[in-house]
Every structure is written in structure tokens, then in C-alpha cells.
Symmetry: C3
Subunit: 326 residues, 3 copies
């Protein structure tokens, strides 16, 4: 029995047969693909391979999260076509990875992974309804907000234990230039910047994610690489810390912003490519600002900078006659 992987449009029959295991598997893989806005199950499979290359724990989490959020959507009766396109999978996938990245993997944390993935579907549906007045995509906002809620509760709930990855709360201070950017920084940062979309600061993961994009859309793959290097160069020029640049911390929001603006939401062409580079250039500032704004809470910004930057550039695009809609 082979997975009915498909990179083409969905057939009508698919939407009414989510109970079949191959269809469900295809749906979950599309959910993983949607983390980078790709409705393509091969892409999702390569993303899963990229995560597994770095950590089997996170690969398992991604599957559990995607399955939980998708099943929640099916049980509550969310729009079938959206479910089938993986729209109720990507936030769950990211919530699950994030919870196991920032919280110690106890039984209670796994219970929270299930609860939080289900919550991401409720928040996704709420935001879809609310954003309908602007016809604006909600992107990964449900993932960010749900994850922040669970991380913040660590300050009140004594049975949740953060890992060393969760920042310590502190007051922001002026940064000083730290470390020297070399060719290795740029080379690694280019790929870790793509890897960090799934919290995998690993060049092999990043390369597999880029391959996943290539399978679905060459333009998306080119946008991701251009976005990653743009974010990296801006951060370097502004004097960001070398270890952060090398780890891809200033890349992943630019990667997602560039994919969204250059290959998904605007007509393909030179203008949208330039507009996307502009977005990818601004994203590191938004990323630095969000990280600093969350410092007194000891919270990570995750993909919030991508979400904010892309919302602004999408809405603005409609008011600019030089920017054509997709």
C-alpha cells in the first residue's frame, strides 16, 4: 500500500475520504509542507526527513502535533477542503516541536503537546474567522500564540520544567558586537536559517528543507535561499552576534517572509521579487525588536517576526498599484 503522494491539486474525492489511511497520511504530510506554505506531500516528507536527520524526538513530535491538530479539526467539523490541504496541520506540528524544544519531555509535557496542538486548531479557526474581513492569511500566528501561552504558564505551574533553550527573563541592554563573521558563518547560516523554521539549527536539516521546497516550487526554494542570505547579511551589517548569525537566528523569519511575498501571495515577477527582498531585509529588524520586547518575559519570538512583517507587506501590497496580487 503506497502513500498517495501528490504535488498536484486535490481531487474532489479526496476531501470526502479523510478516514482512509493513505489519504490521512497525505493530509498530514501536506500539513508539514504548509509550515513553509507548500501544499505538497513530497515536500512534507522531505521536511520530516530533515527534522529526523537532526532529532528523532522532534520528528515524532511533528507527527503527533500535525495529527492532533488535524484530527481536532475533523472532529469539530472544520472546512474539509482546508483540512485536506494541510491547513490544520502546520500550526500543530510547530507547537509540538516548540513545546519539546523548550520544555523537558515529561509525561505531562506530552499531555500538553496534545492539548496545545488541539488548541492551535481552535485558535487557527478563530483567526481564520476574524481575518476573513481582510482576506488576510493567519500564517503561523496560532502556533506562536499557543506556544507562548504554554511557555508563560511555566511561571505559575510547578510541574512544567523548561529546558536550557528557554531564555531567562531579563531587561534588554544595548548589544555589543560579538565574534567575527567568517565564510563559515555565512555558509552555515545560509542553511541553518532554513533549518530554524522547524527549530533545527542543523545544516543537513536546512539542506533537506531546501530540497523539499525545490520539489514543490523552484521559485519558493530560490526565495528561501535569498531570504536566508538577506537576513544574515542585514544582521551582520547591523552588528548582531556571530553565534546567532551562524545558528540561523536572523535567517528563518526572512526565509518565510521571502517565500510568502515572492512565491505565494503576489504575482510572480520582478516586482514581487524585489518586494520580497525588501521584506526579507526588514524582517531581521522586526526579529531583533520582537526578541528584545519578549526579553523581560524570558520568551522566544519564534516566527512572530515573519507573521508581522508578512501581514504588513501583504496589506500594504493592496494599496500599491505597482504590486500585483497573485
Amino acid at each position: 500500500m503506497s502513500l498517495r503522494l501528490s504535488s498536484s491539486g486535490l481531487k474532489d474525492g479526496d476531501a470526502t475520504s479523510l478516514q482512509h489511511i493513505p489519504v490521512m497520511a497525505d493530509t498530514l504530510l501536506r500539513g508539514l509542507g504548509q509550515v513553509m506554505l507548500q501544499n505538497n506531500s513530497y515536500t512534507g516528507l522531505l521536511f520530516l526527513a530533515g527534522i529526523a536527520a537532526n532529532s528523532l524526538l522532534f520528528a515524532a513530535a511533528a507527527l503527533v502535533g500535525t495529527a492532533t491538530s488535524t484530527l481536532t479539526a475533523i472532529v469539530l467539523g472544520a472546512d474539509r477542503a482546508s483540512v485536506r490541504a494541510g491547513m490544520f496541520g502546520f500550526n500543530g506540528a510547530l507547537v509540538a516541536i516548540a513545546l519539546l524544544y523548550f520544555l523537558a519531555p515529561t509525561t505531562l509535557t506530552w499531555a500538553c503537546v496534545i492539548l496545545a496542538s488541539a488548541c492551535s486548531t481552535v485558535l487557527m479557526t478563530a483567526m481564520l474567522t476574524a481575518f476573513n474581513v481582510w482576506e488576510l492569511p493567519v500564517l503561523t500566528a496560532p502556533f506562536v500564540l499557543t506556544s507562548l501561552a504554554f511557555f508563560l504558564s511555566v511561571a505559575r505551574f510547578g510541574r512544567l520544567y523548561p529546558t536550557g533553550h528557554l531564555p531567562t527573563a531579563g531587561l534588554p541592554v544595548n548589544a555589543a558586537v560579538e565574534g567575527v563573521v567568517t565564510g563559515a558563518t555565512v555558509g552555515e547560516g545560509l542553511l541553518t536559517g532554513i533549518g530554524q523554521v522547524f527549530f533545527q539549527g542543523n545544516v543537513v536539516s536546512g539542506a533537506l528543507f531546501a530540497a523539499g521546497l525545490f520539489v514543490s516550487s523552484r521559485r519558493a526554494c530560490a526565495a528561501a535561499l535569498t531570504g536566508s542570505i538577506s537576513g544574515l547579511l542585514v544582521a551582520w551589517g547591523m552588528g548582531a552576534a556571530e553565534p546567532a548569525i551562524r545558528a540561523g537566528a536572523f535567517g528563518f523569519n526572512s526565509v518565510l517572509t521571502a517565500i510568502a511575498l515572492a512565491s505565494v501571495f503576489f504575482a510572480s515577477g520582478t516586482t514581487s521579487a524585489i518586494y520580497a527582498v525588501a521584506g526579507a531585509t526588514v524582517a531581521p529588524f522586526v526579529a531583533a525588536a520582537c526578541a528584545a520586547a519578549l526579553e523581560p518575559l524570558g520568551m522566544p519570538a519564534m516566527t512572530l517576526p515573519f507573521v508581522l512583517t508578512t501581514w504588513v507587506f501583504l496589506l500594504a501590497g493592496r494599496g500599491f498599484s505597482k504590486i500585483e496580487p497573485a
Copy 2:
């Protein structure tokens, strides 16, 4: 002269005769009832009794606040039917209690009570207009935002003095399990969870509030009790501090969320009951998160978690075919 108390629908004549004392009294009591979403003056009277059972100061504040915000609405020409249903009273009532709970009761504080209650009506009207595009209720958001504005100004205005109830600003740290939850914790917490809706961590107040709900809607009363126990159990399971659980700190947002979801905004039935329990289960996480997020400002979250959770579940409900609108 008896108060024209009524639990039934409003007559047309009432809306045009707010200047009569009995009608005004009935309107104010409905305003108190609306704190728990009940358009019922008997309920409001029992709520007032419940507050007075704990503190005459807060009962006086509740009346002053309700009267001020309602009169502001009448003077500025807000929608009469809404005024008559107590929709411009509940935020004023809560603002007034909150200001006297967190600020020392000087003459200047009482002046601020008047100003803040009036402001709550302006903010209520603004939010009603803004939320009209989603047909979403504003709930107690005007109370929370108005109160926060006045509490935050303590850091700039030297003539406002906080009481010991206002948290000290600090950076959030990981919680440790504190104290042992016993039968007494659960018994008290069940009722204080209802009492805390009006800032009254008192079992007698909680019982009288429950009675007030019972008079208006048995389903609302059952939802409140179920919500309170749900919030308490989740907080206990997650390792929240016993004194906070006993005081109802993790109950009141679940109480309000359960009332809203199970008995007001969705069709009565098993599905909405399950959905309401889900909301009441999530609310303690949102409450913990909001409390932690406001810790660097030294601010209380009040009913913000209820507002956020209920908005999300209401909006999401429209996108789920299994959830029926009221």
C-alpha cells in the same frame, strides 16, 4: 414604592423612561447581573448582597461605578435598549471595585473611580463599534483595559497609592509546587472561584453569586460550578500554588468562560457543554500566561484570560460545523 424587578424581557416603555427611579434602579441591578452575562435584576440584587457580605466598601463602589457608567451612557446618547439591559453598567461596576481593591481609598482615588467608570463607557462604546464587524461581544475587556491604565499610572502619578493587593513588578521565574491541595482547598476554591469574579475571595460571596445565577438560569449556575471546578483541577494538576487555588485565582476565568460558552452564546446542548468544559480547561493556562506576561509591569490580569479565551472559542465556533450558534 417597590423596585420593578423583572427577570423577563424588557418592555418598550421601559427604554424611554430611564429617568424614573425604579426603572433606573432596575437598570443598575441588571448592570450588576451582566458582570456574569445575566440580564436579570434579581440576579444583580443577589450579586450586590454577595459583595456586601464580604465588604460594604466594595458594595458601595459597585453601585457608584454602575451608576456612573450607566449615566455617562445616557448623557452621551448611547443605545437605549442596551443601556436598559445593563450593558453599560457591568464594566463600571468592575472598574470601581478594582480601583478600590488595588488603590488606597483616598478622595483622589474616588475621583478616579468616577472618571474611570465614565471612561469604561467610552471604551465600551468604541469596542462595540469596532467589534461590530465580527458581531463579537466585547465582554469585560473595557473594564480590564480601563483598570490597567489607571493602575499603570501609579508609576507616574505620585498622588495614587497602591494597596498591598497590587503585585510588585518583577521578572517571571519558574514556579515550584507550593503547599498541599486538600479537600478544604477544593471546597473553598469551588466557591471563591465564583466569588473572585467580583474580587471577593469569600465562600459566602461565592455562594450568593451562585444563587444569583440560579435565579436567572439553572444552566448558567451549573456552568459556573463546573467551570470553577474545572479551572481548579487543571491548576492543581499542573502544579499551581495551593493558596492561589484555594483563593479561587484559577477559577473565576473558567467560571465566566463556561457561562459564556455553555449558556449564552451557543445553542444549549451536549456539544456546547463539552465545548464549554474545553474552554474552562484552557482558561487556567491563559490565566497563568497572562499573569506571567503582566509580571514585569506589576499588573493583575483580572478577567483578561476569560475575555481572550471566550473570544477565541466564540470565533472558532463559527468555523466548526459541530458547534451550533444560539
Copy 3:
């Protein structure tokens, strides 16, 4: 070749000839005038003179910022009539002054001034689209948000250096009354309150700004003076620090709120005048609250209190039958 200054309405021909230097100069001056909601190039010229009276650096920044944000709008194809009315100039002007007020004027800071002014146009256009559902003006929100993003990045970008004007991050504490308010405090504060709209705590600047308003609208000028004195008196009564009152820190948000409510967005008359004084009275509380809320981030509130207060009073005004639209 004289500047085609005009205080009257725009002619059709103007909107299609932005490439002509006199038209462009007139557009930029209108952009400066729009900082206080005046579509009038004489007003803009007096504002520029007021800035130059205090600092040639800030006058240069204002021109660079206005030009950059306006040109960005033209290049991207924003609505021509709006561009011509200066609607894409005022946020750029303020962003540029703010960046040079709070960051050391290095070459990189000047590059950020250009980038941030261009970003203010993207954010302005995005907010115009988003706020269209409420037909609500975005006011100076794009300036505030863009500036905050750049100031916050100082905590991550080692090549940006704050000046002494940027607050140090700290936890808010209860204020104590500080200093004694005298006639000089009130006299200076009245004018610095107007001057601070452009970050110029200078009485001569404030007087020239008031003159600029007078040229465009006597009602706006009266509103500004009334707003300034209202904000000052409320802050004094509440026990704000004397140096802050003298410097106009509690005046400028009330100035802008009063201009907006009394002379721009509602029908001229006694009711809107009273409503504007109410707004100007509330603004210092919102200003104190915003300043305290931003204290853990070490960020200035700038005109955020004006924006929030005016949004609330504008939206609320539509729900009050006693308040007439313009």
C-alpha cells in the same frame, strides 16, 4: 521660482504633476503639516521653522524623512491624492526625528533613517487597508511602531548606539511627587507641550508650531492650547514630576487628541469641544500608563497615547447620538 504654497484645496492638475519641484516641495510641507493633522503647506513651513529654531539637525532629519516616505509612496504607486495631501509624509518626518533623537547620528543611523522612513510608508499603507473596515484614521501609529522596532533592535544590533534620551529598561515603581509646580512650570509647559509633538521641548518651537496651526485653523490652534493646558493640569493634580510637566511630557498627547476631536473628525461645536477636553483629560492617564508599560523595555511611548485615546473617542463617538460626525 517661488514655492506654490497653498492653504486651499488641491487642484486636479497638482495630483498628476508630483515630479515638478514646486509641487513636490508643497507636498513635503503638507506632510509636515499633517503631523498635526493640517493639510496646509504654510503650516508645514512654520513647523519646519519651529524645529529649526531648536535644532538644525532635526530640521534636516524632518525633511529627509518626509521626502523618503513620500518618494517611497510615489515609487510603489500609492494613492496619488493622498500623497499630494501629505498623508505619506508625516510618519516619515516623525520617524526620522525620533531616530536621530534617540540614536547617535552615525552613518549607519542615517541609513536607518532612510530605511525606517520608507518602512513607515509600507506600514501606513498596510494600516490604511486594515483600518478601512472601520473607516478609522491610522494617525501616527505607523511612526510609533516603526520607531519602536528600530529602538528595540538596539538590544541585538551592536552597531546602533542609543543617546541619553532613550530610557534605560527598568521595572516600574510607584512614583513620588517630585518638585514644585510654579507659574513658570505652567507657562513653559503650555508651549513645550506643543513643541514635544515634534520632540522639541522648546518654548520658541512650541510658539511657532502654534502659529502654524493658527494659519491653518484657529479652532485647531485653540484646541492645541486647551489640550496642552488640560494635560498639564491633570498631570499636576495627579502628582506627576515637575520636570516632566515643565518639559511638556504630559502635554503633547493631549494637544494632538484635542486637535483631532475638536477640529478635525467631529462637527465643530460645543459638544465636540467638550468631548475633546474629555479626551485631553484622559490622555495623560493613557500617557502615564503607556510610559509605565514600556518601562521594562526601556522604550518611549511617543504619540502612542494620542493614537489610542483618539481611536477610542472616535469609535465611541459613532455610538453616541450626542456626538455629531464632521
